[in-house]
Point group: C2
Chain length 743, copies 2
C-alpha cells in the first residue's frame, strides 16, 4: 500500500510527544522513540491486531520493546489480588482452624500491601519507553495526556520505565538489556505450544505473532545470544524481531566494541534475515519486509532496520540524544521541521487520533469474531474449551492438590530432587498447563516425567510443539527469561531446572520473575556441599542468601517428601510469586513431624519439647541432622532441645506473629543450622551454625564431617549457645522486633 | 612432521590414566579426556612452550581447558600469604600504634586461615579434568602418580576439579561453563597489552599464545558468546581455541537443543575458522590446523575438531561416557585394544615419560634464554625492566598511596562515583598495571581518566594495544570473566565498571574472582534507589546481601571521599581478594570523622558520644543521613546517639574483637541504616532499617522521602529501638557471639 501525509503526521506526533515528555521530566531517552517511530507506526497500524479496550484478549498479537516493555493486559491492574502468596490456598488446608483464617486475612492485607508496592517496580530499561507510552495513549489504552505529562514522577503511571501493573497496556516487565528478546522467544514458544495443543480443524484459535524491537545493547548481551540460538533451533516462525541498527550505544559509536556481523550471526542460529536500509523514511520497505517475514513459517525472522537515533534533532545520530532530553532550541527547530507549532507542547492532531482509533476499533471487532469462534469451539470441544477458559484465569483444576504425594516416617529415604520428580509425575496429568524443562541437566534435575514429550519442531523427529518438556540447552539465563515470557503469555506454568549454584547465571532474569510477578518455578538441585565430589564451583554458599534478599521470591528448601509437596503446592498456587526449590542430591529421611499442612506455613515445629532449653532452627538436609543432635544434646550435655523446620522463610514471615512465636518462642535460646552462608539467619535465631567459606570436593559424608555438620558438631555449638544466653533477661525470640519493616 | 607408534602410545596412556582414575574414584568424567587426548598431545608436545619446573615463567604459553582448569604457576602455592586482605598494608597506615600491630598479627593468622581454606574451593567443572592431571603428571609438574590415585578424595591435590592453589600446574580456576573461553580472551588481552607495553626492537619479550579447549556446553553459554564477540572485535591473533565437536552434552545428542552453525557464528564475530574432521586420529591434520592458526595474526582462531567422546570405550560417542566411570569389562577391552595389560592400572610406559620430559627440558631451556634476554633488556630499558619485575610480584610501587586523594569536611559534596574517578585520575600514572574499563557505561561509571587511551586494534584508529582503557561493550558477564583472566596473566590489575544492579548479570564470574583469588575491582555505580528516575529495575535491593554472602569478596560502600580512597587502597593492596565498590550517583557530603586510616579498618566511629543510648550503624549515602538524625533524636526524643560507619563489613570482621566492640559497644542498643535489603545486618545491629521491597521511579529525594529515609524516619525507628531494648540485661553488642564461625 502507499503512505502519505497522514502517516508522516502520525510518526512525527509520536516523535514530538517523546520530545515533550522527556523535556518536561528533564530526564529520559528521546532518541530511540524518534528513530523507531516509523516502524512502530507501520507495525501497529498495518500488522498488529489488538483491542485497547480489552488488552487481555488471549489471541492478541504480542509486542516487546526489548530493554523496554511489552504491550499487555491491563488486567494486571485488577490482578493485584493474585499478586500474593496463595494464603487462601493455605487456608483451604486449614478449614478446621477458623481462628487461623482471621489471622490470615489480616496477613493477607499486609501481603497485598507488599505486592501492591511491587508494581511500582515492574520497571524496564528506559530506552524508548516514551515510544511505548505515546502508542498506548494514541491507540486509546487507558493512559491520558496528563499521564504523559507526569512522565518519571513518583507514583505516576508513566514512571521512568513502564510498569506492567500500573500502566494498562504494558504486557510484562522486561528491563535490563537482553531480557526483552528472550521474553519474546518465551512468548513465541507459548504461542506455538498453545496453538498445537488447542487448535483444531476449522478452529485456528491461537495464531498470534510476537513482535520484538531490539537494539545493539541487547544484541551484545549473552542472554540474547542464548535466546536467539534456541529460537532458531525451535524454528519459531511466529517470532519477528526488528533490529534497530542505529550504531549508537552509551559509549558512543558501536565501532569501539561491537563490529561483528549481527545478521550473519542470526543466520548461523537459523533465522531468516532482511535489511531495510532507510528505516527513517522507507515505510513501504518496512511493510514489505514485515509481510515477507510473516510468510516465513519455519524460521524466526529478524529485520535489520538502519535508523538515525534522535531523527530530526540537531544531535541526530549521536550519543547526545540517547539518554538526555533535547535542548529548547533544538526542540523548536525540530517542531518547525515537522510542521508543528514550536510554541505548543503535547500536541496530537485529531486526524492522528482518528487513524489510530479506527485501527483500535478493527481490533475490537476481531476480538468479537474470536469470541464467537471460541464459543463455537466450546460446543464441539467442551473439555479443551473449559481447560483454556480456566487457564487464563490462573486458577488450577479443582482438587488437583489431592494428587500431591504424602509420606510416612517409615518410607525409605529419598533425595528431594527425586521427590520433586515424584510430584511432577503425580500432577502432570491434572495440571496440563505445567511445562517442565532443564538447562541440559535433565537426568540430574529429575525434571522430566516418564511419558513427557519434548517441545520440538516436528521435522526433527524428536518431539512436537504440543510437547510439554523444554530442552533449554546450557542456557540458564535465557531459560529464566523465556520462562518469564511463557508465564506472561497466560496459558502455561513453566518449571525449569539447573543446579542451584547456576541459578546465579540467571540472576538478571530471576530478579525480573519477581519484579513482574511471574509464576515461574526454578527447580534448583544439588543445593549444597551435599553434592560432594563435584566440589566448590558447584557447591552453593551465597546463593540462598542472595535470593532470600530478593523481594517477591519464595525460596524453598524442603527437608523431606511432605515438605517437597508443600513447596510445589505453594509454588503452583501463588499466582504472582516465583519460586526457587532448592533440592538435594543426597537421600534424606522423612520426618516424624512433617505434613503438607504444616509445611505450607513456611515454618513449623518438627519436634516439640515444652521444657526445651534451645530451639534448633533448620532447613532441608540439616533438619534430620538436628533431630539426631537433639539426642546427643540430651545424652552428652543434658540439654533439652526442640527443632523448628523453616523450609521457606518468606512464607513463614507471612504468618501471624502469634504463630511465628509458637515456632520460635520467647524465653529460650535458638540456633540456626544450614550448611551455607549464615547471612540472614540472625533474623530467626540467636546464634548461627553455617558455612561462611567455600566447600570441598569429596564423598559428601566426608565433606559434612570435615565441616562438623554432624550431630556432635551441632550439639557442641548448641550447648555453647545455651551457656551464652543463660544470663540474658528477658531472652526474647528474634521474632520480636522494635518496629515493622517497610514492605 | 610424521607421527608414529610413540605418539599413539602417549595418547593412549593419557586415555588409560583417565579411565583408571575415574574408575578408582567411581566418579568423574572420562569421556572428554579420551576424546581430546590426541589434540592435547599434539598441542602440548609440538606447540606449547612451558617449564614444569617453573610454571611461573611470564612468557609461557597459556592453556585453558574451558570448563576445566588452566595450566599455571605453582607459585599460587607459595602465594598463600598473598591470599588475604592486606593487613600489613593496613598496618603501614598505623605505624604509631604498635599494640594494633600485635592484634593484627593474630587477626592475620585467622585471615590466613580463612584463605588457606579457599584454595580447596578454587575448583572447576569436571569435564576433562583428568586430562589436565594426566598431562601435569606426564610432563613432570609436581603431581605424583599417588596424587592421580587419590582423585576426588577430600584433601587430595586432585580434587573433583583442579584447584589452582593446591595443584601445581593449574593456572587459574575457571569452572562453570563458558568461563574458560572468556578467561582465555582475558589472558590474550593481557598478553597483547603487555607485549605492546614492554616489547622493544630486538626484545620480543612477550610473545606467548593462549590456547583454549571448549565444548558444546561452553558454546551454548551466553558468556562465551559475549567473549567471542569482543575477541573478534579486538582482533586477538594470539588466541587459538579448539572446539571439541563431539555432539554430546548431558541431555544426550545436541540435536535436541543446539543445531546452529557454530563456525558460521564465529566467522560472524570475526574469527578465523578451520575444521579437522577426524580429530580422534588425524594428528597431522591437527598439527597443520594449529600451525595455520598461528600464522593468522589479525584474528582469533577457532578449530572445529570432530571427536568421539569416550573414544575406545564400548559406549564411545554416547552420553554414557560423559559423567560416569567406565565399567570393568569395558576398561578391559579398551586396554587390550590400546595394547595395554588389562590387569594393570595407572601404567605409564617409560618412553612416554621420556618423550614428554624431553619437551619439558626444551621448555626449561627456552626459559633460560628468555631470562638472559630479560637481563639484557634491563641494561637497555632499566625502568621498564624493573616495572615488569615488580608487577609479577604483585607488589605496588613504593609510596603510591601518597597519591590517594584526601578530603576535609568543608570540601564540596560529590557523588562517590566521581570520587572514584578522582582516585583513578590521581593514581593511574603511578600504577601502570591498572587497566580500567566499563561495560558500555563509561560516562556513568566515571571509570576513564582524561588522558586514557583505549585498548583497541590499531587499524581501527581509535586506540592501540598499549591502551589501558577497555570498552567491554554491554557484556557484563564476559567483562568479569575476562578480568579474571587478565588478572591471572600476572602483569595487570583490571578494574571494570557497570551499574551495581548489573553486576548480578556477571554473578557466575564474580564468584570465580573470589574462588580463584583474583585482584579484580568491580566499579559498581548507581548503588541504590538514590539513582532516582531510572527506577526499580536499576535499583539494587538484594545485591549487596548477595555479594556479602560470597566468601573472599570485599564489598565496599564508601560514604565520602576518604572512604572512597580507603576502598581503593584495600582493593589494590589485597593481592588475593576481589572487590566490589558500590558507589552513588547522587552527591554526598564529606564526613567530620572520616580518614583513610580509619576507613581501611572496614568500620569506625564516625560520631562518638560516650553517653549515647544507641549506635546507628550505616554505610554509604545513609551515613550522613544518620548524622543528621542524631540531631533530630536529641531535639525531638532527647535521645543521645553515636554513629558507626561500616564501609566494608568483611574488612571490619577481620579486626580484633576489642576494636569491633569499640565501634559497636556493649550496653546500648544499635540500629543499622542501609537503603536496601536488611538481610545480614542483624550481625552488626539489634534492629535494622532498610528496604525489603523494590524501589520506585522519581527524583531521588522524593524516592528517599517516600520510603522515610530521612532524619525523621531514622530517628523515629531509633527511638523505638531504644525503648524496645531498655529492659534487656545484659544488653550485649551483636559483636559478641556464643561461638566462632567456621572459616
Amino acid at each position: 500500500m502507499t503512505y502519505g501525509k497522514i502517516d508522516e503526521l502520525a510518526i512525527n506526533t509520536i516523535r514530538t510527544l517523546a520530545v515533550d515528555a522527556t523535556f518536561a521530566a528533564n530526564s529520559g531517552h528521546p532518541g530511540a522513540p524518534m528513530g523507531m517511530a516509523p516502524v512502530a507506526h507501520v507495525l501497529f497500524n498495518k500488522f498488529m491486531t489488538f483491542n485497547p479496550k480489552n488488552p487481555d484478549w488471549p489471541n492478541r498479537d504480542r509486542f516487546v520493546l526489548s530493554n523496554c516493555a511489552l504491550m499487555r493486559a491491563a488486567s494486571c491492574r485488577a490482578g493485584e489480588s493474585e499478586m500474593k502468596l496463595n494464603l487462601r490456598g493455605v487456608m483451604s488446608w486449614m478449614k478446621p482452624c477458623f481462628s487461623q483464617l482471621l489471622r490470615f486475612s489480616c496477613v493477607n492485607f499486609i501481603i497485598a500491601g507488599l505486592f501492591l508496592t511491587i508494581p511500582r517496580s515492574s520497571a524496564v530499561n528506559g530506552h524508548g519507553c516514551m515510544l511505548q507510552y505515546a502508542l498506548l495513549h494514541l491507540f486509546g489504552y487507558a493512559l491520558s495526556m496528563d499521564d504523559l505529562k507526569h512522565f518519571r514522577q513518583v507514583d505516576s503511571i508513566t514512571p521512568g520505565h513502564p510498569e506492567a501493573h500500573d500502566t494498562p497496556g504494558i504486557e510484562v516487565t522486561t528491563g535490563p538489556l537482553g531480557q526483552g528478546l528472550s521474553n519474546a522467544v518465551g512468548l513465541a514458544v507459548a504461542q506455538a505450544h498453545t496453538a498445537a495443543y488447542f487448535n483444531k480443524p476449522g478452529f485456528d484459535l491461537i495464531n498470534n505473532y510476537t513482535y520484538c524491537f531490539f537494539g545493539d545493547g541487547c544484541a551484545m548481551e549473552g542472554i540474547a545470544s542464548e535466546a536467539a540460538s534456541i529460537a532458531g533451533h525451535l524454528q519459531l516462525g511466529n517470532l519477528i524481531a526488528i533490529y534497530d541498527d542505529n550504531h549508537i550505544s552509551i559509549d558512543g559509536d558501536i565501532k569501539c566494541a561491537f563490529t561483528e556481523d549481527v545478521m550473519a550471526r542470526f543466520e548461523a542460529y537459523g533465522w531468516h534475515t532482511q535489511w531495510v536500509q532507510h528505516g527513517d523514511t522507507d515505510l513501504k520497505g518496512i511493510e514489505e519486509a514485515i509481510a515477507k517475514a510473516k510468510e516465513v513459517k519455519d524460521k524466526p525472522s529478524v529485520i535489520k532496520l538502519t535508523t538515525t537515533i534522535g531523527f530530526g534533532s540537531l544531535l541526530q545520530g549521536t550519543g547526545g540524544v540517547h539518554g538526555n532530553a533535547l535542548k529548547a532550541d533544538d526542540i523548536k527547530q525540530l517542531k518547525v521541521k515537522f510542521g508543528f507549532d514550536p510554541e505548543k507542547t503535547f500536541v496530537v492532531p485529531q486526524e492522528v487520533y482518528d487513524l489510530y482509533h479506527k485501527h483500535a476499533a478493527e481490533g475490537a471487532a476481531a476480538e468479537q469474531e474470536w469470541n464467537q469462534l471460541f464459543e463455537k469451539y466450546g460446543s464441539e470441544y467442551k473439555e479443551l474449551h473449559d481447560d483454556f477458559a480456566r487457564r487464563v484465569t490462573k486458577a488450577l483444576p479443582e482438587g488437583w492438590q489431592n494428587k500431591l504425594p504424602t509420606y510416612k516416617p517409615t518410607d525409605p529415604a529419598v533425595a528431594t530432587r527425586k521427590l520433586s520428580e515424584s510430584v511432577l509425575e503425580a500432577i502432570y496429568e491434572v495440571i496440563p498447563e505445567l511445562v517442565s524443562g532443564s538447562a541440559d541437566l535433565t537426568s540430574s534435575n529429575n525434571t522430566r516425567w516418564k511419558k513427557a514429550v519434548d517441545f520440538q519442531p516436528p521435522n526433527l523427529g524428536i518431539g512436537n510443539y504440543a510437547g510439554r518438556y523444554m530442552r533449554y540447552g546450557v542456557r540458564e539465563h535465557a531459560m529464566a527469561a523465556m520462562m518469564n515470557g511463557m508465564s506472561a503469555y497466560g496459558t502455561i506454568i513453566p518449571a525449569g531446572g539447573t543446579f542451584l549454584n547456576f541459578v546465579s547465571y540467571a540472576a538478571g532474569a530471576v530478579r525480573l520473575s519477581s519484579l513482574s510477578h511471574q509464576r515461574v518455578i526454578y527447580v534448583a538441585t544439588h543445593d549444597s556441599i551435599g553434592l560432594g565430589e563435584d566440589g566448590p564451583t558447584h557447591q552453593p554458599i551465597e546463593t540462598l542468601a542472595h535470593f532470600r534478599a530478593l523481594p517477591n521470591m519464595m525460596v524453598w528448601r524442603p527437608a523431606d517428601g511432605n515438605e517437597t509437596s508443600a513447596a510445589y503446592y505453594m509454588a503452583l498456587t501463588s499466582k504472582g510469586t516465583p519460586s526457587i526449590l532448592a533440592l538435594t542430591r543426597q537421600n534424606l529421611p522423612h520426618l516424624e513431624g512433617s505434613t503438607i499442612e504444616k509445611a505450607i506455613k513456611g515454618g513449623y515445629v518438627a519436634l516439640e519439647d515444652k521444657e526445651a532449653n534451645i530451639t534448633l532452627v533448620s532447613t532441608g538436609s540439616e533438619v534430620s541432622l538436628c533431630l539426631e543432635a537433639v539426642k546427643t544434646l540430651k545424652e552428652k550435655y543434658n540439654i533439652k532441645a526442640r527443632v523448628a523446620s523453616l523450609p521457606c522463610v518468606e512464607v513463614f514471615d507471612a504468618q501471624s506473629k502469634e504463630y511465628r512465636l509458637s515456632v520460635i518462642p520467647d524465653g529460650i535460646a535458638s540456633m540456626s543450622v544450614e550448611v551455607m552462608s549464615t547471612l540472614g539467619w540472625e533474623k530467626y535465631s540467636h546464634e548461627q551454625f553455617g558455612l561462611n567459606r567455600f566447600g570441598a570436593s569429596g564423598p559428601y559424608k566426608d565433606v559434612y564431617k570435615k565441616f562438623e555438620f554432624t550431630p556432635e558438631g551441632i550439639a557442641k555449638r548448641a550447648a555453647a549457645t545455651v551457656e551464652f544466653y543463660k544470663d540474658v533477661k528477658p531472652l526474647r525470640s528474634p521474632i520480636n522486633r522494635a518496629f515493622l519493616q517497610l514492605i
